[in-house]
Amino acid sequence: MVGMTRPCLLASLVDLAVQMQRDADRPEAELHRRDRALVRPLEGGASSHRELLMAWLEGLRAGGEAMPGRSFSAACRVLVLSLAVLGLAIGWGAAAALFFYDGTRPVNVVHVLAVFVAGQWLLLLLLGIVMIPDRWARWIPGAGAVQETLALLSPGQLVRLAIRFVPRSARDRLAGTVASGAGNLLQFKKVWKWAVIFASQSFAVGFNAGALAACLYLVTFSDLAFSWSTTLEPDVEVVHRLTQTLSAPWSRWAPDAAPSADLIRETLYYRQTRPLSGAAPERWGQWWPFLAACMIVYGLVPRMVLLGLAGWRLHGSARRAFIEAPGVAVVLDRLTSEWVTTQAANPESKSPDRSGAVLEALEGSSLADGSPLCLVNWGGIEMSDEMLASRVGESWNRRIASVRHAGGRASIESDGRVIADIAAATGEPGVAVLVKSWEPPILEVIDFLRELRQAIGPGRILIIAPVALDPAGGLAPPRDADLGQWRKRLRSLGDPALVVRGWQEGETP
């Protein structure tokens, strides 16, 4: 599309996956021809396989293939933004609830720390375990089990349950679609993993930003009182050590954001204590810098770092998947290999049968015993005239009156003379033409037989004897296939006095 910018990597990856799926059932030759035609104009211009694949997808888009990558990518952006906004709202709401103060009970910093530090770090720990690559998880005790257990909690598991409640008619189709989607997910496992982490971290960043904003808003526009309270045995020293540890990252340059032991002691709140007694009024509000710093350092910053890391890894895994995902090698093979074809473009037309109408009863004609034969050596069968006459005469029990030569090296004029001589030799009622059985009955021999028949008239018997040669150079019976060819072809002449007989020792035609 004119003016359309190149889609982002994730969009191209989706297009690639969809296109590979679409091509799965198409003939390889057809795909090869299409794809080479698309990328060949760029040959030498594409600096890498990635560029080549991008160009290929661009070519397909230009050719009218519907590609969902851009829409998918836009939907992802909307989703990530929505999650961030949702996180912002929930974070604001959570902070507003935890920092709620109506003058009766002070804000309990233990709740704030539990939700915005401990709770988030527990989730971060689980996320960290999920992020451990498979090859490392194998060596960390329990990591694999936790990963598997967390996978069971995936909302994706509900799909199987949902399918069971779909009408039977649509169930198989839906299951197929889900399986195909799962196949794609598996193919681009790492990409999806980082995409999901990126989306979840955008929610988490929103959540922490919302909570921090709410905290600062309430601190600025309302008068909050903080205390700490627990049912367990409260030990000021332990709590002080804990807050010191938590504030270690900023205590040097922001000492006010690290609560002192006195503040901790003074703001301890008991159930039976009268509200806000035991400390100066301004002391009850001095917890907020510590809480805000905790929310920034232990909530917002790690999530922002993770968001950045997930974005970087998402891009990296998408780049790698683009050229390394299963199936891409086959596409690249098509793009980089020449498309070679050597076959004829059109199917062969059926050749007409030249044998013509088959006439039966040709074999019925026979020659009276003892009558002389005129022999024609067609095509130069390599045997002397005497030998040929003697072998044929003895075998067929005939007198060979003459041996003549036609075809082969003989000239057309010479063939004409042979025909004239035979026509004149009326004392030789039969004419036998010996032909090489291994040579096909071409038009040249057919022409000769037609002319001979015309010259000798319809009454005289014409015997065509296909002969083979044995290794010693003697006459031998022809192969059935060769004899069959001669028979089929000569039948088309429709000559009732023409007989085709394969050479057979002692068999009289």
Binding site: P27, E28, A29, R36, A37, R40, D134, E148, T149, L152, Q157, R160, L161, R164, K189, L232, E324, P326, A329, V330, D333, S337, E338, W339, V340, T341, T342, Q343, A344, A345, P347, E348, S349, K350, S351, P352, R354, S355, G379, G380, E382, G407, G408, R409, S411, I412, K436, W438, E439, P440, P441, I442, L443, E444, D447, L469, A481, Q485, K488, R489
Partner: protein, 460 residues
């Protein structure tokens, strides 16, 4: 540079179409024992990325060569004008009944094609061929004599000496048995006919060799995909908890066997398509299953829950309860409550899973038995499948397109391939081992395809 075109000419029924079928890798060429199967010229261009590099033209055989030569001699003026006479012959007889085949076969030659004159080296030389060769000489085009021994007898030497008198280059080329390298050598030999064609024909050879390698790659991939699919395949049936599983086994086993056969046959089809064999009829023994017991029996539950999932759910519930106890002791219990709770929850989950299958809700059982056939565990099975694929590839890749008849992979001729060398055997066993142990690898098919391709390369 003119496009190299070669007209394949000769006496009828001497294997011209077989030569073309083999060189063009086209099994649609009509090859028949009857003379005159080819009556019209048919062009077989070699096109690389849309560019035509050379072409073969199959032609009808000479039918009236002596008469045609007779005509030409009658119209001869001087030896240097022989080609003109041939052209005049064509003009005089085109579209008429007297010399349809001669006109058809001379047309591409007089248009500039080189001549490949084909004879059958298994039958004796005959003087009737001389007019044909003489006519071809009259055209003045570069020519090559090709002896194609169709039958078992050997008359090659007599043919070689006869053809040597008419053609500058004479080659023996068995169209049915020619291996790929011989086909390439022949195309290189075409380059000897005309210096101008040599560079382009060298490019043809490079492209053909590249294409051949690609065919091996695709075939190896198809074989690898089928193997991975076959080794992972399983057929599952859900039966009521009181069903007789022994009675259900034969039907499931048959379905499993049929699925494996389908995977294998699909790979066979792909390999044959890769090598442009579209008409092969295969005869192959059915694949035997080697597992003594292919079946595993477990239970299943509605809502997609497996026993493991129920166990995990129980463990998590138990752990959560135990964690509350731990919290009560302020951590002094050293997570004993959590661990104990998880253990108890898992055990209860495991025990409950078996009991749940018999529970009925609204008269529908909550679960039942699951009978699973496969995946096959036999260590020899992947080797058997691989050897079958290897032998099939060997036969297909070595089969010329002039060969007719079934592709036989059964009986005594099954799998007579040489043993693999040590390196390939180890690589193959490594991949099979991974497949057997279901150890995940992102592109196991690609890895296996690489090894198979290496074996196919060596078979070549």
């Amino acid at each position: 540079m003119s496009l190299p075109v070669f007209a394949v000419v000769g006496h009828p029924n001497k294997g011209k179409s077989s030569i073309v079928a083999t060189l063009a890798s086209d099994d649609s060429v009509e090859i028949g024992p009857e003379p005159g199967t080819t009556t019209r010229c048919r062009r077989y261009p070699m096109v690389v990325d849309g560019e035509e590099l050379y072409a073969l033209v199959d032609t009808p055989g000479f039918q009236r060569a002596r008469r045609a030569l007779h005509w030409m001699k009658q119209h001869e003026t001087s030896a240097d004008l022989h080609a003109d006479v041939a052209r005049r012959f064509l003009e005089a007889h085109r579209g008429q009944d007297s010399f349809p085949d001669e006109c058809e076969l001379l047309q591409p030659i007089l248009d500039g094609a080189g001549i490949l004159y084909v004879v059958d080296g298994s039958v004796p030389y005959g003087e009737e061929y001389e007019p044909e060769m003489e006519i071809l000489r009259w055209t003045g085009r570069p020519s090559l004599g090709l002896i194609n021994p169709i039958g078992p007898a050997d008359h090659i030497e007599s043919w070689r000496s006869a053809l040597g008198q008419f053609f500058k280059v004479v080659r023996v080329f068995n169209a049915v048995a020619a291996e790929f390298q011989k086909r390439v050598d022949l195309i290189r030999a075409f380059g000897q006919l005309n210096e101008e064609w040599r560079a382009r024909l060298d490019r043809v050879v490079v492209s053909l060799e590249g294409d051949r390698r690609r065919k091996r790659r695709l075939s190896a991939r198809a074989a690898a995909e089928a193997l991975v699919e076959m080794l992972a395949h399983r057929v599952e049936r859900r039966l009521p908890s009181d069903a007789d599983t022994a009675a259900a086994r034969p039907a499931i086993e048959e379905e499993f066997r049929e699925d494996l056969r389908r995977f294998e046959q699909r790979a066979r089809d792909i390999v044959e398509q890769c090598y442009s064999h579209r008409r092969i009829e295969r005869r192959e023994e059915a694949l035997q299953l080697l597992d003594e017991d292919l079946f595993a029996e477990t239970t299943w539950l509605r809502f997609g829950l497996s026993r493991r999932e129920i166990m995990a759910t129980g463990a998590m519930g138990g752990a959560a309860t135990g964690a509350i106890v731990d919290a009560h002791f302020g951590g002094a219990s050293m997570l004993a409550g959590t661990l104990l709770g998880a253990g108890i929850g898992a055990t209860v989950g495991w025990w409950t899973a078996d009991r749940l299958v018999t529970v009925k809700i609204l008269d529908l059982p909550l679960g039942g038995k699951r009978l699973v056939a496969g995946p096959t565990r036999n260590a020899s099975f992947p080797h058997v499948v691989f050897n079958r694929a290897r032998y099939h590839h060997f036969l297909v890749s070595h089969r010329t397109h002039a060969t007719r008849g079934d592709l036989i992979l059964t009986g005594d001729r099954a799998h007579p391939m040489p043993a693999l060398d040590k390196e390939d055997r180890a690589a193959l066993e490594g991949v099979f081992d991974r497949l057997r142990k279901r150890r995940g690898e992102p592109d196991i098919v690609g890895r296996l395809a690489e090894v198979i391709e290496r074996v196919f390369d060596k078979d070549e």
